[in-house]
Amino acid sequence: MKRECSSISRLLEKYFDQEVTPEERSLVEGHLPDCSACRMALETMQNLKILIKNPVEEAVEKETFPWVWEKIERGIRQEEKPGLWESLWSWLDMISLRKKKILIPAVAAVVILILITAPLIYEKMSSYPVLSVVEYVESDTYNVMIYEREAPQVTVIWLFEGPEEEPLTS
């Protein structure tokens, strides 16, 4: 009897965790009605489980674990391999103002900087690819001379009465 109890008690934990085979189960269940020590041991295990389980469940209910959820979401996103557009959205989400309020001044500064510098850069790039200011000149009345120089920037269209007339230069 003592030997049987000793071998059963080794199975009790597995029985409690429902990891026993059907044969082991019938063995334990046949033994328990006759052994108060094993019954008590099983009862202790159940009480211990309740003692641990309840506070943990309460804590889980109270706690939302946002970081755990973010980690899971990140994992899902990585698995899905999002496209460029989704990546952009997730980047925007990362710098979302409501989540990271500390970024508001930084974002505002960057936007202002871009607004100030963009027109300047734009203006720098804005010159015509061709140097000529005068695209064409037509005159039925006069002969025309076009004079253009880059430094200093000079563009003059000069009219002449006839072919014999010379330009009036210094």
């Binding site: 103002l97 936007v111 200011v133 025309v144 004079y147 000079v154 003059v156 000069w158 002449f160």
Partner: protein, 148 residues
């Protein structure tokens, strides 16, 4: 939804300097008409920015401002203004490439075309149209077009 709205706002803000040139299809052109001659000497203070240009090309001793007017040119709408002596200047804003405006310039006298030209004016750039050369004792008219 809020994310899309904030993204759209940021996008509009970033593109606004580039959209400006397209949205406001109107340019301003300053028209200055001067009489250049060898009678007397002096350079009108309103023509100071043209001094280097004109001085490097012509030997006139005097430049006298006759007219100074800034006109707004809507896209493809000719704007005419009288210029001395008894001429008419017609400016038409044809096209804009970034900040450079293509402007058609037509000078007429009594309904007769004297000159038609197309110029590309960027801000700060000017074009002077002058001649013919003056007869003895007379001045010649130079019309300077510039972007403020």
């Amino acid at each position: 939804m809020r994310r899309k709205a904030s993204f759209s706002v940021i996008l509009i803000l970033l593109l606004s300097p580039f959209l400006g040139g397209v949205a406001f299809a109107q340019v301003q052109v300053r028209v200055r008409v001067m009489e250049a001659s060898n009678v007397g000497s002096g350079f009108d203070s309103s023509l100071r920015d043209l001094h280097d240009q004109l001085g490097s090309l012509f030997s006139f001793s005097s430049y006298r401002l006759l007219k100074d007017e800034t006109v707004s040119l809507p896209l493809n709408h000719p704007v005419s203004l009288p210029i001395p002596p008894e001429r008419s200047l017609e400016l038409t804003f044809i096209n804009q490439h970034r900040v450079t405006a293509e402007i058609r310039v037509k000078i007429t006298r009594g309904g007769r075309d004297l000159l038609t030209t197309m110029v590309r004016l960027a801000p700060g750039r000017s074009v002077s149209i002058g001649g013919p050369n003056p007869k003895r004792g007379e001045g010649t008219i130079i019309t300077a077009l510039s972007r403020p």
